[in-house]
């Protein structure tokens, strides 16, 4: 009997030890995972310190990218990054909202699942492949499109420039194509938030689907769309490969929407391995830090809005 008791005791203790050990492992991993983004921020900050101390705020006031004479102005890439994000987000919304409405109201069964698969497939294309396709099948034709735009809308200042295959417009078009699937999925999700009984009440009044969409759905999900805008803005600004392949990499202020220029990501991707001086490398880390902060702020805005929405409707 004594032996049996001992057996149980020892078994218990092993079990207890085992339990606490595994528990400890879980906690250690959790803390480690929490520290990852902090670590990324610290690394970016430490590495951009030399640039910050040497150049100070001059990076935000000069508009000149000349690594040889240590002149680095980030206004142009920062501006271009935001422009690319904003314009492709807006263009994307114009395409993705109708698709989301089509998927949730005007189609069902096989047609709906076919188009959902199309959206999924589009979302899964790696950006480097999309960039490759754009280099050979979009860029050569961009010149013609740009000439037409210039002829029609040339009186608007930003639309009047020399057409070039690689530049802002090409990048924006491809980014739009990348953002469409993300936005479609999110908007579809938002539409499911609309209370079922409101919809049914609307239909029972004899309204058409179009009236439901314009009078009920769109006002209802308006706030959610703002969140979608922020989310896809973040995606658009952080996109690297397609941008680096298509934007032309000329780190200057764009003269027009056609001209080759550079974004924060494309500068890092193209110049990081060629940075010849310590300040240069450090400036590139600083660009990373700025990008990190920019994407962080937009993501947090989106999160806050979405959280508010879910609290109200769930």
């Amino acid at each position: 009997m004594f032996k049996k008791a001992q057996n149980i005791l020892s078994f218990r203790s092993i079990d207890l030890a085992n339990f606490s050990l595994f528990d400890l492992l879980l906690k250690v991993v959790a803390v480690f995972l929490i520290l990852l983004p902090v670590l990324i921020f610290i690394i970016l900050f430490i590495n951009s310190l030399p640039a910050i101390s040497k150049l100070g705020f001059s990076v935000f006031t000069t508009n000149n990218w000349d690594p040889v004479s240590d002149k680095f102005g980030v206004i142009a890439p920062l501006f271009v990054t935001i422009i690319v994000g904003v314009v492709s987000t807006v263009l994307g919304l114009m395409i993705s909202t109708p698709i989301a409405l089509f998927l949730s109201f005007y189609s069902r069964g096989k047609i709906s699942s076919f188009f959902s698969t199309v959206i999924d497939a589009l979302a899964s294309i790696p950006s480097v492949v999309l960039g490759l396709w754009a280099i050979f099948y979009v860029a050569p034709h961009i010149g013609a499109i740009e000439t037409v735009i210039k002829a029609l809308f040339g009186f608007i200042p930003f639309l009047n420039g020399n057409p070039s295959p690689f530049g802002l417009l090409t990048t924006i078009l491809i980014l739009t194509l990348m953002l469409v699937p993300i936005q479609t999925v999110l908007i579809k999700e938002l539409i499911t938030l609309v209370p079922r009984n409101l919809l049914e009440a609307g239909f029972s009044l004899g309204t058409t689907k179009y009236e439901i969409v314009t009078n009920l759905i769109l006002p209802f999900i308006g706030q959610g769309i703002v969140a979608v805008v922020f989310l896809s803005l973040a995606r658009g600004m952080e996109e690297t490969m397609a941008t680096a392949m298509l934007i032309g990499n000329r780190p200057l202020f764009p003269d027009s929407i056609f001209s080759p220029t550079a974004t924060l990501t494309s500068i890092i991707a193209n110049e990081f391995s060629e940075a010849f001086s310590k300040t240069y490398l450090s400036v590139l880390f600083e660009l990373g830090l700025i990008l990190f902060a920019l994407v962080f702020v937009t993501n947090v805005c989106a999160k806050l809005i979405l959280r508010m929405l879910y609290r109200r409707f769930r």
């Binding site: 207890l16 085992n18 339990f19 595994f22 528990d23 492992l25 879980l26 991993v29 959790a30 995972l33 929490i34 990852l36 983004p37 990324i40 690394i43 970016l44 590495n47 109708p98 698709i99 089509f102 998927l103 005007y106 189609s107 698969t117 199309v118 999924d120 497939a121 589009l122 899964s124 294309i125 790696p126 480097v128 492949v129 999309l130 960039g131 490759l132 396709w133 280099i135 050979f136 099948y137 194509l177 469409v180 058409t208 689907k209 179009y210 009236e211 969409v213 952080e238 690297t240 490969m241 392949m245 990501t265 890092i268 991707a269 990081f272 391995s273 990373g288 990008l291 990190f292 994407v295």
Partner: protein
């Protein structure tokens, strides 16, 4: 009139949806058209050759991708399953709330930023580029998706089973091993494959970590080629021959990625 507007609007949404499908069909068609010609035995058994020899293949990139991605997946799965378990076992605690926020922060981190951070941490301290550094950078990209998705999967364990296990006197650890993990086996496999599909096409984190290599390299401690990296290098080169190889590589990559993510479409939304 009202019905007409409705019909017009329906037609409009359908046209938009159709035109996006047509663009996708265009992309796929041109990928196949330009890629299929260069996919032959040479593509799989030869490494890169200098321009002009009119041969050469993707062997070093395919092997490199396999090695880099499998190391990355080992890191991702081991860390994320534990992280997901933590979220499941200690829900609503301060630590798990912070963990969730930090995962969504990491999810939003630009992939190129992950790349340059790993460059500083690993490549600088090793003194040279390496496939292993590439794996770590890819792991940074994949971990947040997998953590959040695995937590959602653990949530699907029927509470009946868990309570039955506890009532038999099993310890928490045993419940985790015998009930929760066993129940989540297949969904975990599915989301691992999805994470693999997601990181297999990532190029930006590899630019300054794995760096690329024209020769077959089996040692992850040395610079390594990878499929997306090789496609990028060939795509921006000025040679037709390399362009053809880039198309072929893109075709192989996209077949892998798209097939995986369409098959597992049911699990796609998890972790986003």
């Amino acid at each position: 009139m009202r019905v007409l507007t409705d019909r017009l609007f329906q037609a409009f949404t359908m046209v938009v949806a159709l035109s996006v499908s047509i663009i996708l069909a265009f992309i796929l068609f041109q990928l196949i058209k330009d890629g299929i010609g260069s996919i032959n035995l040479n593509f799989f058994v030869e490494t890169a050759r200098p321009v002009g020899s009119n041969s050469g293949g993707f062997k070093q990139a395919i092997v490199g991708s396999l090695i880099i991605d499998s190391i990355a997946m080992i890191i991702i799965i081991s860390l994320s399953v534990l992280g997901g378990l933590f979220l499941h076992v200690y829900p609503e605690t301060l630590l798990s709330k912070i963990l969730k926020e930090s995962m969504s922060l990491l999810q939003g981190t630009p992939t190129i930023v992950c790349g340059i951070c790993v460059y500083y941490m690993v490549v600088r301290s090793m003194g040279h580029f390496s496939g292993f550094a590439g794996s770590i950078a890819l792991a940074l990209v994949g971990i947040p998706y997998m953590v959040l998705a695995s937590e959602q999967i653990f949530k699907m364990t029927p509470s009946l089973l868990v309570e039955a296990a506890y009532s038999l006197g099993l310890s928490k650890t045993r419940v985790i091993f015998y009930v929760i993990l066993r129940f989540a086996k297949f969904p975990l496999l599915a989301i691992s494959l999805l994470t693999l599909a997601r990181i297999a096409g990532e190029t930006a984190p590899l630019l300054f970590t794995a760096f690329g290599n024209s020769f077959l390299e089996l040692n992850p401690g040395r610079p390594m080629a990878a499929m997306p990296l090789q496609i990028f290098i060939y795509a921006i080169s000025p040679y037709d021959e390399w362009h053809r190889l880039a198309w072929a590589g893109a075709l192989v990559l996209i077949i892998f990625v798209t097939v995986l993510s369409i098959i597992l479409g049911r699990y796609r939304r998890l972790g986003e």
